[in-house]
Symmetry: C2
Subunit: 95 residues, 2 copies
DNA sequence: TAATTTGGTTTATATTATAAACTAGTTTAC
DNA sequence: GTAAACTAGTTTATAATATAAACCAAATTA
């Protein structure tokens, strides 16, 4: 009756990050920080988890002398997000 | 940009329970157990939390010699559920 | 009357989310 | 040129959560 919700996406911050990346495709760590208002530590952890799940790709480089982390959603990530939304809608559509 | 999701509802099982109660208004513990496929212990804990939040009303009685726990959503619970769905849609609508 | 079943609750454990503390380097002000 | 403040993160410690396992009380069945 109630399908399991992907635990990787059923997290406020990870969902917000994925939601951002769905629309912009590519975003800097600092951009994610601004948009989500989360702490850098929290973002760092959640980005790592999304990367471990292969939902995003993380590139680290230097820009204007400072480290720069860029996140990009993968095809797997897009699929997972869509599936999550679909499952979620089965929970809430009954309302 | 991303409003906080009600932590009481942002739990797979509590969301499933609330979703059920939105549609049926009133349900027995055993009915919830059947529909959600969760363990009784887990349901017991989550029902307690929903009750503590005043999202549901819990009535305990006996039926055919056996204890019977009945859950019913409150007006507060309906409001919270609707707000949760609305907030959630702001997360996922960007996709 | 012993074993099993019903309908739960309590407790222990594993997972999560989060903030705080830390690292490594850069820029600015004195 | 060096101390203070800032950038861009990571790691670690802690608190909160979700969950299953163990338990309880009573009823039923063999």
């Amino acid at each position: 009756m109630f399908k399991d919700l992907d635990p990787i996406l059923h997290s406020q911050l990870r969902l917000a990050i994925m939601s951002l990346l769905i629309s912009v495709k590519e975003a800097e760590f600092t951009f994610i920080k601004e948009k989500t208002n989360a702490t850098a530590g929290n973002i760092s952890v959640q980005v790592q988890k999304l990367k471990d799940a292969n939902y995003i790709e993380v590139t680290k480089q230097f820009k204007d002398n400072y480290p720069q982390t860029i996140c990009k959603i993968t095809a797997t990530g897009v699929k997972a997000f869509e599936a999550y939304v679909k499952t979620l809608q089965e929970y809430i559509k009954k309302s």
